[in-house]
Symmetry: D2
Amino acid sequence: MSKVPGPIVLMEPLSGKTSLIIKINAIHVSKRSKYQGILIVDTDDYGRTLVLDDYIQSSYYDEIYYHESLVHPAVTTHPRPSDVLILGGGEGATLREVLKHNTVKRAVMVDIDGDVVELSKKYLPQMHQGAFDDPRSEVRIEDGFVYVENALKRGEKFDVVIMDLTDPYSSDIAKQLYTPEFFGKVKRLLREDGIVVTQAGNSFYFPEAYDYVLQGVKGNFPIIAEYSVWIPSFGYAVNFVLGSLKHDPHSLSAEEVDKRLSERGVRAEFYSGKTHIALMNMPVIKKILRV
Amino acid sequence: MSKVPGPIVLMEPLSGKTSLIIKINAIHVSKRSKYQGILIVDTDDYGRTLVLDDYIQSSYYDEIYYHESLVHPAVTTHPRPSDVLILGGGEGATLREVLKHNTVKRAVMVDIDGDVVELSKKYLPQMHQGAFDDPRSEVRIEDGFVYVENALKRGEKFDVVIMDLTDPYSSDIAKQLYTPEFFGKVKRLLREDGIVVTQAGNSFYFPEAYDYVLQGVKGNFPIIAEYSVWIPSFGYAVNFVLGSLKHDPHSLSAEEVDKRLSERGVRAEFYSGKTHIALMNMPVIKKILRV
Amino acid sequence: MSKVPGPIVLMEPLSGKTSLIIKINAIHVSKRSKYQGILIVDTDDYGRTLVLDDYIQSSYYDEIYYHESLVHPAVTTHPRPSDVLILGGGEGATLREVLKHNTVKRAVMVDIDGDVVELSKKYLPQMHQGAFDDPRSEVRIEDGFVYVENALKRGEKFDVVIMDLTDPYSSDIAKQLYTPEFFGKVKRLLREDGIVVTQAGNSFYFPEAYDYVLQGVKGNFPIIAEYSVWIPSFGYAVNFVLGSLKHDPHSLSAEEVDKRLSERGVRAEFYSGKTHIALMNMPVIKKILRV
Amino acid sequence: MSKVPGPIVLMEPLSGKTSLIIKINAIHVSKRSKYQGILIVDTDDYGRTLVLDDYIQSSYYDEIYYHESLVHPAVTTHPRPSDVLILGGGEGATLREVLKHNTVKRAVMVDIDGDVVELSKKYLPQMHQGAFDDPRSEVRIEDGFVYVENALKRGEKFDVVIMDLTDPYSSDIAKQLYTPEFFGKVKRLLREDGIVVTQAGNSFYFPEAYDYVLQGVKGNFPIIAEYSVWIPSFGYAVNFVLGSLKHDPHSLSAEEVDKRLSERGVRAEFYSGKTHIALMNMPVIKKILRV
């Protein structure tokens, strides 16, 4: 580990006009993979932090809020989630949350960048907490787009698909996984009561990108949920879009959520029946522009 | 109005280790009042913005989220709010929201800094929208602490007290208004079914200050609600603490909230029955520190 | 005057990879003229400061170093400077230095931006110190390029031409005044023993732009002097290029310089015979790149 | 070597009110030694760069200007420099320049921080260029203060002492080596025609610290030279103070300097007879403050 002694800071762009400046205490990893820049650093405010290209992906002190919000509303809404596909999610925390549901028999995680996975294993143990070694886990280093194409050919089916990718506006890596066409393929990969959920960047700073993702899901799924949670190290509330073919997350009561979590052995820190109700009722935050 | 042509930015400290850097397009006001620095600037991301000392207080593109969240949960929870006291709130937007409830007969706003009020009248019309001229409004330029002392002596009573002050950690101006003793005085100023609500800074970056305010309210009020909303120009989700002597905001249904808003003629953009349910169920965001 | 109370800073780019961040205390002027952004601000480190577009042009605490270095080597090298033309120099400090030489009968200053001149008169009195009111001064708000063309047609002649323009790489305003062709016109505008001098940006961060200016002067003048002086508020040592048709500044002794300054009544703070020797002997600072 | 992929910058304080922000491309070393933080990074503008605590010490693209200016005026002014002592100078570049004078029989370099020396050997080969392996070199990891005390007891003598320490205002490490008392000890360590030279920080941003060093030298040496050179990666012109017991650097002609360099086999890139004349004649840059 290399302690950073001096005045080194991370400048994270929130938009072209606003940035977050974060003091760095130590740099564990700084390399350029085949696909992107990878930084693993220590910060006072957020603890150990993974940065891909210019953007913080997750940090020790707040990743719980992100990963639980990404995974549990969708997986809990599904009455019997057995097969779950994760696109992206290289640091293993999304996989960790998925595996908490003991109904899950198979959790496939497909990340294009093997370096992110390997470096996370080594430097971000709190993220994966052994998830990569779970016998139900199947980790593939592969383009998610290609995986989905081939899985469709093989006739594979999933109950839940979770998209934990970099933002559509931050780089080109994940762009083709946010198109309406791709959400159509995800729909065909799901069983008839399947659910997809994706992080969708930020609706305040990047409303067009958010609406693009939202429309892509809406065009393919009859039931939609939009929700958001403030993630301190992102500098904003991240938006999520959930598309469902049959089960509506809005109709779950807090009691039913808590009952399912309990039955499935899920212990979460942030997510609960109450949190589910909060997420399902909170409006999306956008700029209020008046004439 | 003075357009800023060049490379001028606002550096807003979120903590001692993290700052927000925001491009400024125009500076309308920059003066030092008797109490604090006052800046009114234009930014791309947040529109026109009021800054007191180092901290953004409110901005055109997101003030709705802050002011509606501060005012409506408390005022709507009260079944017949007639007399409302606002401590702080110099830009007039909190007063604007209070006056939307047509049950309100008297709305007293007490701000220590007359310069903030006068400059807001001139440069922030979207904030007050004429609230200062409403016949029910009573605007006093006075220390809120002194006002409360004297109002107690005069035997005045209020249904709701709303504290819209600068953060306890940002300056000394408002410090004595966050003590347990002061919340005790506020309690005595309320009718027997009264409600207080205060903004409480940020529980992620300043957990001690937040807990101090929370304990001060808890020590004086039997019913407590904690809630938070991400405010983009603050760089964080602001926390609110509500203390109630009789009415519990958690027991209001979304339908009841919508009914009251409709009966009282309140038109809000963010707040609604659904939003109320979200706020009352969302956990507070704190650092997750593991050993 | 508007005191800036809060956390406002100026970000001055030295290159695309390095910037200077400067705390601002007050903003006196911030407007966009027909040609450029104009800022007049107060800073702790540099005092009152003029910024055009993104770049500091001059500041109270160090402008002496810039303006004396621009004017006196050329004007002192000329044995009897009577007619001096200044291109740019809107804040009046270059004119102020030229007029110190009592041999000067006519000092024409041509600046394209009348707003810079008017605002400097009002907010930067230490810069001009009444130079605009000197009966020998002739201030024209006009494109320097056009002025030179017309002056050639009118058959006007000058002893010294001083180019005090924005950098060739900072904006397009001054670009056509740095071409080899333009230096050819300047040469024709000079008497047969005339001298031209221009600021030439920075040879470390922008070597190509510097060399372009240098070659333009070299292509037209038999005698060349390159020199540079560190200007704190610029963040670098500014380069100057002097072209002379007959008199060589390198052959002036310190004693001769001091004698001329004394005879002409010039009182300077930085420039002297010793300083002249220093400037004429100091190598240009460039990046040392090794294989 | 670790390539930094993302948005990492170095914030170098020039003063409490002004900072330099520098984009970093790679981090080779970041550790905290017993005495200070040590960073070795790559930057676009300055190449490979050594940072101790918050301050850049030297960088590949401009170190020549610093190290030649520190060493050659003093060593060249001495007619027969045989024994040279360097206090500080851990990266080996000062030693490299000293050894270029073939009159030098013994060059003792005393740096308190062995980590700086070892890391420089490995990551900054262009700095030392084998100087550590020269048979005339004697490298000691020791407090310079203690070394001087003991050398005095042992009766050792030097012709030139070169102080290449961190700034008096940047940290406490070097503070006791800038006192008038210490310059008195240095004087006693010198032969009767000895010379001392020290870098002295910056006279514009830190005039008091500069004057303190200057007075310390003046109080002990009859002949004084002040000079300065702009070092791009420092963001300022660094000041040097030279104290001499007999030989006056001001009285050396350019020709004599060039003759000595040639006789001693010194090949320098920046320093020459002309440069010597420039340095000896250039005034010190200070803030021009008017009432």
